[in-house]
Assembly symmetry: C2
Homo-oligomer: 441 residues x 2
Amino acid sequence: MVGNKKIFDIVIEGGTLLTMVDGKEPMHGARVIISGDKIEEVSVSHNSPIPETNEIITAENAIILPGLINTHGHSPMVLFRGMSDDLPLKKWLYEHIFPAEAKYINPDTVYWASLLACLEMIASGTTTFIDGYFFANEIVKAINKAGIRALVAQGVIDFPAPGVPDPNKNLDVALVFLERWIHFSDLITPGIFCHSPLTCSAKTLLRAYDISSRFDFPLQTHLSETHDEAKEIEKKTGLRPVFYLDDLGLLNSNLIAAHAIYLDEEEIDLLAKRCVKIAHCPESNMKLGSGLAAVEKMLEKGVTVGLGTDGCASNNNLDLFTEMDTASKLAKVANLDPTIIDARTVLKMATIGGAKVIGLENRIGTIETGKKADIIIVDANTPHMTPMYNPYSQLVYSATGGDVRDVIINGRIIYRDRRFTTLDSAEIMDEVKRLCRQIDI
Amino acid sequence: MVGNKKIFDIVIEGGTLLTMVDGKEPMHGARVIISGDKIEEVSVSHNSPIPETNEIITAENAIILPGLINTHGHSPMVLFRGMSDDLPLKKWLYEHIFPAEAKYINPDTVYWASLLACLEMIASGTTTFIDGYFFANEIVKAINKAGIRALVAQGVIDFPAPGVPDPNKNLDVALVFLERWIHFSDLITPGIFCHSPLTCSAKTLLRAYDISSRFDFPLQTHLSETHDEAKEIEKKTGLRPVFYLDDLGLLNSNLIAAHAIYLDEEEIDLLAKRCVKIAHCPESNMKLGSGLAAVEKMLEKGVTVGLGTDGCASNNNLDLFTEMDTASKLAKVANLDPTIIDARTVLKMATIGGAKVIGLENRIGTIETGKKADIIIVDANTPHMTPMYNPYSQLVYSATGGDVRDVIINGRIIYRDRRFTTLDSAEIMDEVKRLCRQIDI
């Protein structure tokens, strides 16, 4: 404040703005004013003078939108990107991924791999992500350095796991993790990620639920990712997976279930009724040959759905732009209906939908006065983004993550003109390459 | 030649080389020597001195591979990119695309839009493409300016079409087109594109076949893209579409059929027997809700298959990297089998497979001594390409077209460090934007 005049922190000037607020149309020649960590004002500039500000970002020939939200992933798995592709699922898991995790996942690899994942997510416009893995303390350290927003969960499974050799202690480790980071940063929410209702006993699931509820944090799990998994739970418990979880009392708005492929109508109805959040991961579901999630049906029935890339061993990138494209196109071909999951719907899924999944819809997911300034700017001044009739279509069907030019998280410029401001990308890539040279599975 | 020492034109030095020759493994620390329009030598450098050359392209931390080949498209349709998405197929076609074509397709729009398509294809690593549209003379002029390799076909349909108001003259126009460009350039093959066996009569198809055969040029057609189309042909002729074309005597190695979705086993067997070439367009087939082409079955039965983006109104980009990713993942989920259409197979489809479709497998599609120098270099020094265990996986599942750094076509550097050497991208984008401002459908 100089005299009576407020000096703002950042003004984004020009370009096409998608606020992602329901009913709001794209704004051309937009102006977004940021003060501290918050959005102060959203308007059309009409060539009025730019208010006094510490920083101006011009967005002519660009699209301004809320940062994307990745609702399911295991960021340290970038370490195994492309290591073992195109294999039968069981061989992939038991002869490649599990042995590699047992041998190479340690605090050092998790830390550096998480930094690499942050680089990749930032550069492709993701400003918030939901993560679940082992050595989660190291993930928190990495994302804190990066300045990205996240729900980071300690993985829980009833088998010996990296950093948790005794499965009886899996929830003790998780509890210590929660207590350590609960008040650490406005950007980081710690959580618990139960691997699946098959690999976690009822006792483990219930205790995880109790701890999560105590802190009022979301609980994550994989759900009905494969046909075999769903069938096995039914065989073991006499109930379809969603009904089994309901029987345990686990279904509520704090549960985030990833994949959700093998569900019948009644299960989807129950998920809707209990306000369970779904992380839809179409590319991973395709690449592993898992199956088709009936995302259009979930939306129709009012289930909250976000988009997720899953870990890099089954995708193999963290690009939510290509994920949006695939989510829309896959639903269309699965239903032989080109009107399903249109561009705006899938962009909502990747922004405000994701915010609802993580429970932060009052703080992020749209560009509105008073919300946190999590904003990305996508370059539209390229051949593949020309001409532009419909910015939603352009982002979903024409763009890739590589078109992201600037990223602001919590009012801080994290990526400017395609350069990282918080992380040393060369150092991180070199370190990950060095660590990966030992990997031999 | 200075004294006895030959001076080469281009040496590509370092990096990982995928020759795409059957049985050849990736070469690390590669050297590719180019002389004139041809590949002179392919080797591993072993730190030996770089031979004398006019140009050195260093490819450390990059992947060198044959230029990609797009086997199906309508390049001027970039004009309608994102204009009318997510609509029912008939509404999209009859209320949007056809009226827009009737009103806005003219020599000027076709010329500039084709230049824009060339920019996009070059920047995403496509060095050869197969095209079919109206005002094809203008497409030839554009691609000649760009320096890209192509089979460009004049569109033929038994309805009034842009530039061909009288359908009785559609093949006269095509014949004049063929005769005009037959000897024009080593890079350009003119051809005929019959819209479909439903929109072209038997008489039109037969005459198109006769003309194409006379010149020994490939003939293109859409084939069984929708269920309705296949059913209607069956109703009209009493034969499934492939058998109908066989009955006309059209099936041979000079026929390129795009989409090929609604085929039964016998039709696929017959396509294999007759050596018909297939352009597989998974993203377009998904976006329009058309259906799933059984590409794994076609390959198994020995059908030659290339990859195509289709026109930009139904994709909405010309990026063959994301198309490869989708082709592989879609086949996996459709068959619930993650081993199907592995990364190397789909990369073959987009390189040597495409070369076979166009009938140029002896000249392009692999990196080998004596072949034309159509080579691209993909930057692997980025977060989403790190680490790299398997370059095939990396290109298919992690890369996008935006990772292409350099493009050489016919021994000429067309794109260097992401800058176009033959085209003025700003001028072309501006001109297309100007033309599109009038478009109102």
